[in-house]
Amino acid sequence: MADQTIKSDAGMFDVELLLKQARTYLAFGEQTRQFAERFQESLRNEADWVKALRQHFDLFREAMAQSAADPNVNPELARLWTLNLDTWQQAVTSLPPVPFALPDQQGAAWGDYQRAQADYLELLRQAALAALDLMEQRLHEQTGDAQPPGSLRGLYNLWVDCNEETYGRMLRSPEYSLVSGRLFNTLFACYPKDGIHP
């Protein structure tokens, strides 16, 4: 008897993942469109292209920083650079819930976990802001022989490349290893010491 192949229907695919990213991309596009309008305006008033681009990036950076301080300001924009924390939180929700009535010790543990999350988020934020600097630099370089992006998607792809580069540097740092280790360890500490497994 031949073994059945492993089958699933498309319902197995988490369409929400796709839709979330699509919404985030649309938010990226909308943000870019608004800045492009302002950029054209500033070009009309500013003969120095480099200066205009810098002003443009300062606005973008400001929007990113705002979304970092309070993700509710623009949650879709914040999702652009908090992807990894989002994936972490999805993983955490697959675990048994942290016991609701926390004794004091576990309450302190929950606080430690929140601080580890905040530190992790700060690392992501720094990498995202560094990516904007890198993107600005790449766009400058592309005013020479290289072609600048000719479409929103091209710009998005450049943004992804820059983020992967700065994130990758951060990922390889001793600090990331420590902070991500703390993220795991402080989460474990929120559970009873004798474990939750059968």
Partner: protein, 351 residues
């Protein structure tokens, strides 16, 4: 940025939204996603393990069976993903008699399984089943990724049962400077993890893998897929890969504890200090011919981590095959289909 206007951006966004709306309909109609395409028959079962034999594609397959030991992480159908992306099919076409261990999905009753269970008992029993079934004193063993590390342990402990050993994208030295997984697990309190959760939840592993390249793996990929939502075949290929990525079995607690601490954190394999049950693993006891296949752009198992086998194993017939690609490309890229199975098959058939 300066090459297009706000109006162009608006137009592009509208097109994207329209493709997305149309594609959502296609996602509902795409039907079953199949993975693991080559016909196969179960020949042995123990606990959750199933040993499969793939149906030969030549009249007289090679008399010495080839046993594939896949990693405990993720599912082995990556080796046989679809008709035009199947290393197993390539090995069958080359005339080999191919068997594979499917570990199944660990659950609470597997929490106390140790590496001793996996190596001595599970791999050991499968090897003995094939030796008896095929009337051979020795068989060929192909270990993949973590399954390669387990295969190294087995081959070092039972060299008389293995005729040829092939390791594929297999970590040996876990402390090469470019080993990102070791870097990420370095400060994780593995004992606390296992004591808390029992088995390691698959989602936690998945987070670790996705965190290596989040902007591509959890962002850009889903923007790009909107472009192919109207192409049923391309969409099915994408969904098949998605299924594999998120099909992450939990890891048996005690086995994970030992693997994470002794292999990743303490690098005991190359130091000859790993104990599987009561027995010490000495890589120099691997004296059979060895083919070590690694990928030049592997971000999970860097080439240096694999190539360390050359200086630690005891084989006088040691060869390497350097595949130009990454950890996943070595299974599914068209280059892999052209290069990897013929290389493995011809190396085996010469021995």
């Amino acid at each position: 940025m300066i090459q297009f206007s706000p109006e162009q951006i608006t137009e592009e966004l509208q097109e994207f939204a329209a493709r997305l709306a149309q594609g959502a309909k296609m996602l509902g109609e795409v039907g079953e996603i199949e993975a693991g395409v080559s016909p196969r028959d179960p020949v042995y079962q123990e606990d959750k393990l199933t040993l499969y034999r793939y149906r030969p594609r030549v009249a007289q397959p090679h008399p010495v069976p080839l046993l594939i030991v896949y990693a405990l992480v993720n599912r082995p159908y990556m080796m046989d993903l679809q008709e035009d992306r199947s290393l197993i099919r390539g090995l069958l076409d080359a005339g080999l008699d191919v068997y594979l261990i499917d570990w199944g999905y660990a659950d609470a009753e597997d929490r106390w399984l140790t590496l001793g269970d996996y190596v001595h008992r599970y791999i050991g029993h499968c090897v003995d089943v094939l030796r008896e079934r095929c009337a051979q004193d020795t068989i060929n063993l192909l270990g993949v990724c973590q399954g390669g590390a387990l295969s190294l342990c087995f081959a070092a402990l039972y060299p008389a049962k293995i005729r040829n050993l092939i390791t594929m994208v297999t970590p040996v030295d876990f402390h090469t400077p470019d080993n990102l997984l070791t870097h990420l697990i370095r400060h994780v309190e593995v004992d606390a993890l296992v004591d808390t959760f029992g088995n390691l939840p698959g989602q936690m592993l998945n987070f670790t893998f996705l965190s290596l390249s989040p902007f591509r793996l959890t962002g850009q990929k889903y923007v790009d897929v909107v472009d192919i939502l109207d192409d049923v075949q391309a969409l099915k290929n994408f969904l098949r890969m998605e299924k594999w990525i998120f099909d992450s079995p939990d890891q048996a607690g005690e086995a994970f504890r030992q693997f994470a601490k002794e292999f990743f954190q303490q690098n005991k394999l190359v130091r000859g200090e790993v104990m599987i049950g009561e027995q010490r693993v000495e890589l120099r006891n691997i004296t059979m011919p060895v083919l070590n296949v690694y990928a030049t752009q592997d971000h999970l198992v860097p080439p240096a981590a694999s190539k360390a086998l050359a200086e630690h194993c005891g084989s006088r017939d040691y060869s390497e095959f350097s595949f130009k690609g990454g950890h996943i490309g070595i299974y599914v890229s068209s280059r892999a289909q052209r290069e990897v199975p013929p290389t493995i098959a011809s190396w085996l058939l010469e021995r």
